[in-house]
Structure formats: C-alpha cells, structure tokens
C-alpha cells in the first residue's frame, strides 16, 4: 500500500515537471518521425527489388528516441539533487529503497506507455511508407517481437539511466556517462574492421546487443540472438540499478 502511494507521489512529480512533457513529446516525435524518414528513403533506393528488414528500419527512430528516455529517467532523480528536493522527499518517505523502487516504477510506466505509442506509430508508418508488396503484420512472430521488444528496450534504457543517475547525482554528468556508455560501441564498430571485434561489440555492449531485439531477418547471421541481446542490456540495467540502490541507501542525501 505504501509503495502505491510512493508511486503516485513520483508520478505527480514527473507530471508537474515541465521537462517531462517535452521529453515524452520528443520521444514520440523523434521515435516515429525518424523511422518514417528512413522508410521514405527506402522507397527511393528499393528499385526494383530489395530485401530490407522493414520492422527494424521503421524502428530506426530509437537512435534519437532513446535520448529522450535517458533524459526522463535521469532527470527523475538528478533534478531532486539539483534542487535539494531529495531531502524533502526522504523526510516524507524515509525508506529509501522504497523511494527508489517507486521512482523506477513510475518512470518505467511512463516510458512504457510512451514507447508503446512510438512503436504503434512506427508500425503504422511501416505499413503506409514501406515498399509495396512487403506486408507488415503483427501476426508474424518476429515482427511482433521487434515492435514489442523495442518497448522493452526503452524500459530497460530507462532503468539503466535511473541507476546511473542515482550513482552520479549530477544531471549533466549522468547524461554524459550514459551517452558515452550507449554510443561508444557503435562508434567504434564503424571504425574497426576486424570481424572478431564486431562480433564482440555486438554481443556485449548495451545498445547494439539490446537493439538486436529488432532484427527479423538473417537471424542466423547475427552475433547474438534477439532475446539474448535484450538480456545483455538488462544485465547492464540491473547492475546500474543495484549499484544505484546501494549508494542511494547508504550515502548522505
């Protein structure tokens, strides 16, 4: 019962912070818009025939959309430190782990709902803008996995960000650390040409591994299977959240 009230408290905070509206709006706009842009380009180069991974392309907005998720989740905790609100929060609810759990639940709930809107928009964009003759249907299991898995990806990115936010406690610092963590591997992958390194990066770094959930084609050639990839990301998220919980519990606020 206590947790429910804490979650409501956190939802109220999220709801009344101006940045939440902006970031959720950015998540939906960028998430759907970028995917639609990619599909619109696909139609131009897909003459006469090609074999694109349509669900994955329609979900390309995740590259920008996840930045908004990172922002929502990080701000949910660091803003409290920036404004010293955290002391009020902890005075009102001294059980710190409950506070952090409530924050996690509230943020994940908001992100999952927004993520569902994004993938629904991406799916519709895929049906309208995708090349003719390439049916996109949610009755196809890999397609369903790609779209629903992306919602889970957003949720895990939110948890990872919340954990790092709790550790770093400084908005800009936490954002920088998370962005470095997410983007290092894909940037290195663009530069190195060793196949061994590519496999290794795709398997063990949070963004490429997590995004393998979006693959629906050539699965046998993937360095890591979709669910296993999402599992790698959840290990990162769990580790960050665990360390965040430990320091949140024992450090002075």
């Amino acid at each position: 019962m206590m947790l429910v009230r804490l979650v409501r408290m956190e939802i109220t905070k999220l709801r009344t912070v101006e940045s939440t509206l902006w970031t959720v709006g950015a998540l939906i706009g960028l998430g759907v818009g970028l995917g639609a842009f990619v599909l619109w380009n696909l139609a131009a180069v897909c003459e006469p025939a090609c074999d694109p991974d349509l669900p994955r392309l329609s979900l390309a907005g995740v590259y920008l959309g996840q930045l908004a998720v990172v922002a929502v989740a990080v701000l949910a905790i660091t803003v409290e430190y920036d404004t010293a609100m955290i002391r009020t929060t902890l005075a009102a609810a001294p059980r710190r782990l409950s506070v952090l759990s409530a924050k996690a639940l509230a943020v994940v709930a908001v992100v999952l709902v927004a993520g569902l809107v994004v993938v629904l928009g991406s799916f519709l964009a895929g049906r309208w803008l995708g090349p003719d003759g390439l049916p996109l249907s949610l009755t196809d299991a890999p397609t369903r996995r790609a779209y629903l898995g992306t919602v889970l990806y957003y949720g895990l990115i939110a948890l990872l960000s919340l954990g790092i936010g709790a550790i770093v406690r400084h908005t800009g610092g936490a954002l920088t650390v998370i962005i470095a963590l997410l983007y290092i591997a894909p940037i290195i992958a663009q530069l190195v040409n060793s196949p061994r390194w590519h496999r290794w990066l795709e398997r063990y770094s949070p963004m490429p591994a997590g995004l393998s959930i979006q693959a629906t084609k050539h699965l046998e050639a993937m360095p890591i299977s979709p669910w296993r990839g999402l599992f790698v990301l959840s290990v990162y998220a769990a580790a960050a959240l665990l360390l965040g919980a430990v320091v949140f519990r024992w450090r002075d606020a």
Binding site: N41, L42, L64, V74, T171, A180, I184, I187, L191
Partner: protein, 473 residues
Amino acid sequence: MSYQSTVPAGRDGFAQVLRAEWTKFRSLRSTAICVVLMIGLTLLLTLLTAAGSGTDANDGPHYTDHFEFVHQPMAGDGVLVARVSAQANSQGWAKAGIIIKDGTTAGSPYAAAMLTPAHGVRMEGNFSTGIPGGDGGAPRWLKLTRTGQTVTAAQSANGANWTPIGTMTVRLGNVAQVGLFVASPANTVVTKVAGGSQSRDVPTNGSATFDSVSVQPAGAAEWRQDLVDPDATAGTTVQLRDGITVQGSGDMSGYGLPSFHGGGNDDIVINSLAGVQIGLLAVIALGVFFASSEFKTGLVRTTFAASPRRGRVFVAKAIVLAGTVFVAGLVASVASFLLAQPRLHDNGYVPPAYPYLSLTDAPVARAVIGTALFLAVLAVLSLGVGTILRRSARSIMLMVGIVLAPQLIGEAIPNIDVGKWIARLTPVAGLAIQQTRARFDTAIAPWPGFAVVCAYAVLAMVAAVWLVRKRDA
C-alpha cells in the same frame, strides 16, 4: 558635500573580464573532470580502434598494368611525337597519350605523357611517379624524348611551342616499344547491404583519337596493337593513319600515383584520431556546464553586476573555453596519433600500401591540429547552446542529438546519399578535417567541413549573446 571612496577605482577592461572568466572556469570541478575525461576517452578509444583495425593491402599486387597499346620498336635514343585530337570523358582518370615502355609485358618500366579528362596533362612513369603538367585537354601535342635511361616529356597546344612537363629515369633496354595508349580505370560503385556498405568496380571504356604521329629516327612502317595485361593474348597488326581511334580500359598505376585503387583504402590518420569521436562528448559537457553553471547557481547575476556589458562576458567565456580545449585537444590528438602508429604498423598498415606517416607531413599536421581546432569550436558551440537553453540536460541532449546520433542514423538510412548529406550538414562535418584519403564514402572536403561546424558555433554564439542581452538574468 559629496562622498568620494578612498578605494581606487577598479579597472573593467576586457582583460579583467577574461581573467574573471578564467578564474571561474578553472575553479569549476566539472572543468578538470571533463578535460581529463576528454583526453582519457580519446586515447583509450584510439588505442581500441587501432587494435581492432587490420589490413591485407600489402598482399596484393603493387601495381595495375592494363591498357591498349599501339606500338613499334625504337632502338636507342629517339623522339616520339603525336597529337591527341579528342579524348572521351569516360572517367576522370582516363588516360590517353604516348608512352615509351620496356616491352609489352605487364609490369615493365615505362614513361608516358598523357591527357586526362579531369586532371589535366601529366607525365607518369614506373607505376610510382607522377608529374602534373598543367590544365588542358584534347586537342594537344605530346612529345617524349629518350636519351639513354632518361625520358623527357613536353606538351604543346600547337605543335610548335613546347612546354616541358618533366624528366624521369626509366630502366629501358636498348630496344623499347614506343607508341600510343588508351586506358580508363573502373568506377567504384557503392551499394548499401545489410550491416554496412559494399563497393564494387564497374569497368569503363576509354577512347581517344590521334594524328600526326612521328617517330625519330624513323622506324618500321608496321605498327602493332596489343592489350598490355598479365594474361594478354597476341595482338594484331594495325595500319597507323591520322585520325586513328584507340579504345581501351584499365589503368597503368601504382602506389604513389593518385589514380591507383589497388590495396588499402583505409584512412589511417582518421583511425589514429578516432577516439575523438567519443572524447568530444566530454567537450560538449564542458562547454554546456560552463554556461549552465552560471544560470543554475544564479552566479550570472553577480557576473553581470560586476561586468554589465553582457555580450562581452560571453565572448570572454568563449575565448577562455576555446583556448583551454584547444590545448587539451592538441595533447589528446598528438598523443593519440603517436600511440596509434605502432599498433597500426603491427596490424599491417605498412609501406607500400600505407606509407609511414609523421606529424610533420602537411596532411597529418592539418588533421592533428585540426582535430584540436574542431574540439575548440565544438566547445564554443556547446557554450552557445548552453547559454541559449540555460539548462545542462536539454543542452547536452540537443548537442548529442545533432553531433553524435546523426552518425548512427546515417548508417541506418538505406540511401547512401542521404547519409552523406547528414554528414555534411551536421556539426560533425568538422571532423572531415581529419581526412587524408578520398574515399567512396567521403562526404565533404576537410576545410569546408570545418567551416560547417564554425558556422554552427558562430550562429549559436550570436544568438546566445543576443539572448543574454535581451533576457532577464
């Protein structure tokens, strides 16, 4: 009776503002963290990139020798003259002209005077040496003079006034083959495939028309036409007449010649500075924090009370920031380059495919110093964005959205041209300053790319100064 303070009036020149900003900057905790992080990330990622890159470019042949050759033997010294009356623009590096070669075997030494559709008149020889002979295409007269092992090339617009192009030493036997040649290299076509891009060569067919061919001392009346190639078949006899058209594809080229496409195409200067692509994240944070910390703590009101000319304060901030980042960036880029070289050598990046590089080579110096300049300009852009938005979170997100994310989005977009446009129009175009090899995926030349990021920084600073003057602090 008026009161006059006994404290001498303080000076409030630009130097004082600059000093104030420097004091603030160095006493921010984030400054030291960001600078250390920038250098550390850059070095670490450069070393990782160097360790994960390899090449087998030196395993392949070190030259290309494939062209159409209309020739006759010439014993000892002599002069060959011909006019190229027309050349088809089949490829920018298509070659048509006259050549003296030690036989028709592929790989034998040669010297040639040639026209190219896009690169003017040239003398080339021995698969390694090229001498530009100025602009100009067909019709044009070309002349090769052999004296022992020395060949001299000259060109003329009218066949009367000759301009020398150059001289080179060629290992020729007593009897060499002299005559006309045509070559046209393949085009590299890039297609996007799952997980990256793929390049393949599409042959082009060159064509040129010759007249006024003369050999001194006069040789045999009979000319032969052969395809020079490692596995060519026997050629045919041809009747040489004015207006003869020769068609051919291929290239005579090797390491050291700009038209050479064999071997490796990696830009190892970029690979030696690759860590900057993540190190720039710390620079963005540095620039944003320097602006947002003023607003977050309300320090900006004190700052403006002490120095009411607000625009000047932010110009001083930009100077302090850019100077610091440039110095730190130079440390990072020089160290990255020097640390990466041995690793790259171990991984096969050695001559002839990849000549050894030194910091004093002009393109390398431009890339290394340019990297530090890019970081300094990026820091100013971040300062401008941080000043406009006043909050670190949204500023960092916006900067990441326009600097880091576009590189990944470009990769995801199936249309390679759209990817190139993204690379041209976002601030990361400034990293083109690191390019030392033209590649199929090159989006923008080094200095224009740098101008793009400078334009972003100037726009952001102008908007920032305008806003801080207009807005309540």
